[in-house]
Symmetry: C2
């Protein structure tokens, strides 16, 4: 194989301040590609089973994909992972923007942060010059403020900043890592891991072109996309962005409403993309190399909702989480809550879900006014939502519990409260209700990162615009209804799971309708490898299985792959009103998926033979060597990292 495509890794020991560099073996890069693949590789090799996610043994891994930093549409993504303080398992998220590309331009594929810094620091990378700098003066400040301060301090306004906010500093388990102050690696609590290491930010500036084996081919493909994307599934993202899903999901009867107790929201029009465009949107934003411009900037001149465009605008997930999920039909609330979260480094889905859980528990009398520090909680009360976001960001009063996420909040409330959380493995569902897409339910139930909508089938999507182009080439040639749970549906779920993870490994944005062939061309053109969709597909399967192997080591089993109780009950009204997901069929489909993925029915973890098929027998050795499964389960469920 061509070994011209090389990779470099920065290892930063925060405990002693030592920074070292390593080269990736080209074979490692080819086998694991990037993203989940490299994250799982490092976590399995370097992070001991059962360690405290917020302790010195956990590591925080910044990484990229093959396409990150290449001048093509959708190549602006990077990924961050570590053991999750929210789930206790494999933690990872990805985001777009400019940080990943800048990191690549500085010459780095990954950064591994180890240990815990004695004092707040940030990392400054200028090509090969890398230094840890004091962040004492940045601690406690909002993200935009810190980004400005770093740029000023270092004298370069083009520096790209990844950072936690006050929420991450305070180890909120729903803290995220914010980039460009308006994009987040949102899920699985990576902000808390970063906070636990007292690492406030990573600032990067690069001046090199990432290696490209065939730049001409990349230019051709880039040009093709610019000329043709409007004829592909990408088109919808350039018109109504992710916000189009407000109307879509409401139409399907699956717009999460009042903590998923309903699927149709009477106030959806006021949250819709069309209303958002007409009322508050002042501009468009894009990621590195992307012509789609799916992101919106909003501005509101209202003293109660002082929203500035620098923080971007709420995506669909955020609009759902602070809007319909909390029963709020006011986009000033969703826009302002979005800004507060971006300023504080809070995951909007996690925060909205915790708040919705709190409201429901309050309305049901499970949560008292004393516990909420005198706040009255009602669905539809936008002002209360804003107040709760502020408290959560600072972990003040009742906000201290909300910051732990809905699962721990419910444990704290006690009694029946856990029935009113809607999470899988401790991570809240994004704004996609499995009751209108059963395949999505299977995907989120199985995901190693907990309820994660990024690599789960959206059953309806391929029957409407924007999905069919990528499902048919995976060999799904006959349509399946949203409520099908046959083996054919399980197969479809598997195909999409693996395919989506490939986007993560390659660093290609899922909103970009590159065909399978084009994705292979892209990877070949960058790396010079003589590769194929067959190899890349296996790489994605490999990464998925490694993430599951990590979870096995941390004590996860089949009982963790389930939908929340609420989701197993029908919504009262709308297109799927009164229609429950059939539990036995769902369980059967889940078991079918285990088999199709090559997982043991007993442990829900990859079998040795599957790992050998995927060319990673070392993972099977590691799993066998780890007899800690039972202990780690106990530790995970009853131990130190839980219910803080």
């Amino acid at each position: 194989m061509s070994e011209d495509y090389k990779g470099k890794l920065l290892r930063v020991n925060l405990s002693n301040g030592v920074i070292s560099t390593e080269s990736y073996d080209p074979v490692i890069l080819r086998r694991y590609l990037g993203g989940w693949g490299l994250i799982a590789y490092h976590l399995l090799k370097e992070v001991p089973a059962g360690c405290d996610p917020l302790g010195a043994q956990n590591k925080l891994i910044f990484t990229t994909g093959v396409m990150t930093g290449q001048p093509i549409a959708g190549g602006g993504r990077h990924m961050i992972g570590g053991k999750s303080p929210l789930t206790g398992g494999f933690g990872a998220g990805e985001c777009g923007g400019y940080f990943g590309a800048e990191l690549k331009r500085a010459g780095w594929d990954s950064i591994i942060f180890e240990g815990i810094s004695p004092t707040p620091v940030y990392l400054w990378i200028k090509d090969d010059q890398v230094e840890l700098r004091s962040a004492d003066h940045l601690w406690g400040r909002e993200t935009l403020d810190v980004q400005d301060a770093i740029r000023e301090e270092l004298g370069d306004k083009w520096i790209r900043v990844a950072q936690i906010g006050p929420a991450g500093e305070r180890l909120a388990r729903i803290a995220n890592i914010i980039h460009d102050v308006n994009r987040a690696v949102g899920r699985t609590g990576m902000g808390a891991v970063m906070g636990s290491k007292r690492l406030r930010a990573v600032a990067v500036r690069g001046s090199k072109r990432p290696y490209t084996a065939d730049p001409e081919r990349i230019s051709e493909l880039s040009k093709w996309f610019r000329d043709h994307y409007k004829e592909t599934g990408s088109a919808v993202f350039s018109t109504l962005g992710t916000m189009r899903m407000v109307r879509n999901n409401n139409n399907f009867g699956g717009l999460p409403t009042r903590n998923f107790s309903e699927g149709v929201f009477e106030g959806f029009e006021k949250l819709s993309a069309e209303h958002q465009l007409a009322s508050v949107t002042v501009g468009r934003d894009s990621c590195f190399g992307c012509p789609i411009k799916c992101k919106w900037e909003v501005e509101i001149n209202d003293p109660d909702f002082p929203v500035r465009r620098e923080y971007g605008g709420p995506e669909y997930e955020t609009t759902g989480a602070f809007g319909s999920l909390c029963g709020v039909d006011d986009n000033r609330v969703t826009c302002y809550a979005n800004q507060l979260c971006n300023a504080a480094g809070l995951d909007t889905i996690g925060a909205g879900s915790a708040i919705a859980t709190a409201i429901e528990c309050y309305e049901r009398g499970l949560l008292t006014r004393e516990q909420t520090d005198g706040l009255e909680l009602r669905f539809g009360d936008g002002a209360a939502v804003i107040e709760l976001v502020k408290l959560t960001a600072r972990r003040e009063g009742f906000g201290d519990v909300l910051a732990e996420g809905s699962r721990r909040l419910a444990e704290w409330i006690g009694g029946d409260a856990p029935r009113y959380t809607v999470n899988i493995k401790g991570q809240d569902l994004a704004m996609h209700d499995p009751r209108v897409k059963y395949g999505h339910g299977l995907g989120v139930a199985l995901s190693p990162t907990g309820a994660d909508h990024m690599h789960s089938l959206h059953d309806n999507a391929y029957q409407t615009v924007g999905g069919i182009h990528e499902i048919e080439p995976l060999g799904v040639i006959e349509p399946l209804p949203f409520d099908d749970l046959s083996s054919a549906k399980a197969r479809l779920v598997r195909q999409v799971m693996i395919w989506r993870v490939l986007d993560n490994l390659t660093g290609i944005c899922m909103f970009h309708s590159w065909t399978v062939q084009q994705k292979v061309d892209l990877v070949s053109a960058v790396t010079g490898w003589s590769t194929s969709a067959i190899e890349l597909w296996q790489a994605a399967e490999r990464a998925y299985n490694m993430a599951r192997a990590f979870n096995y080591r941390e004590g996860f089993g089949p009982q963790d792959d389930r939908l929340p109780e609420r989701i197993m009950q029908p919504v009262p009204a709308g297109p799927v009103g009164g229609k429950a997901i059939p539990a036995e069929e769902f369980e059967q489909a889940k078991r079918t998926l285990y088999g199709m993925m090559g997982w043991s029915q007993e442990t829900a973890a990859p079998t040795r033979i599957k790992l050998e098929e995927l060319d990673i027998p070392w993972v099977a050795d590691l799993m066998e060597g780890c007899q800690a499964s039972e202990q780690t389960r106990e530790r995970r469920e009853g131990g130190g990292d839980a219910l803080g």
Copy 2:
């Protein structure tokens, strides 16, 4: 999916002479593609478990691949299958030439022959006009004679003829089906099935262009190949053809010599490609659309070896089978034996192997001169080899037993004789010794068609020219030695098995170094499908699993997936002299492959979950419905079709 790519099927009931036509559902074509896929589909659906391969219930299926008849290099192949009278299991073979393309040009994708004709017939297809004609006057005649007669009778010298010869008429289990009088669907005894139906020939002439969704793209790819194939792995086939393997395999110590008792042949130079070119080769021959011209025409003006160019020249397999395998170092013998086989419709590998077995048994005193009708058999005696081929072709005297193939011959000889046959599932090894390529051993042990070199890894090939181009893109990025039996080798074997079967399904010649991407482009351009290597890969896996399911139904199990005793013993000398394949490691690797393929360790058949993953749960239903496994095993091993 696009449904513009359609297919037509001709169903010919030979018992009552009724000819009917059917259309393939476009979804069926996409799911099974062609070749093994369609053959297995029809066999599983239409041929009852346990039926006599030479009886009325067996069917003979002619089919094509997606590329058959398209104007691209390597697109001249078609496939023929049925239940094998040699193995009792899945029978199938493929060949190049012009017949398949002509069949497609006549508008047909498949022909299914059912029943048994009361009198000899041949089928004449001229586009939509199809008729059964008497073959009384053709019966008993040699193939070239019959081809001439048919062309003359129908008044068209461009008619393409597929036919059996006298060997097939006489139900020799090693009879093949000959095309253009010099190309054979050689293995698994399809000629005997055709003979049992009293179908002497299929003559076809077409005038239509097969459907092509994007002819321009096909032209581009075709042009690319013509311009570039000399820079690819295909180049070696255009210089020394398959004959180059005489020297190659001898160098590796794996040129099958004296019935596989040795791996280095002292007389190899006289059988070599170089000597063949210099001594007897008078021309080159090509298949439909192919610039490589890997086939050679030979001519010998010697009354003892009257070899005419019309019958082509011996390929490597034939040269090995009648040359080194019989200890003969005279290419006049291999050329003439080749001609006799092509004239009689005998598989050269099967015939050479039966003869070599007979010689060894004779030399060992297990076979007497009485049994050979007075013939003295010695390794190295070319005249005796020729005589035995003639007897076999006519099933005269001792030839009657040889025509049954080496396994049944050895049973007839009795005593220790079975130890000196080198077959798997009753089908003899081609001229590729697993002792110099352990991965090949795994491939042939598992193949549903018995020892079949067409879809088994040639471990050495990818370390020399002509192989690496296609193995690396399958994700095999680190070299593995020929004697490795690790899980990585099992994985490599699996990748190649599946990939090669895809060539069969698409109808692309394996000597054509199309990249994975190009193969997808080719299929897309012909069909108009939005497909990918991921889908095509699954289609190949599907076909392989269906063939294994067929064998399960016929009573095959893990005990049938083994290398012959002789191969498990070391050769005495040469590069691998004294080095035995380690039996336990080999068994372990085989078991690993079962797991990787999704087969039960108990039954060696596909599990339900694997079949569901491959979108064919109906095959699992069929397997469960078939409780006949034990009975059919008994029938297969002790019953009517065996040891005739």
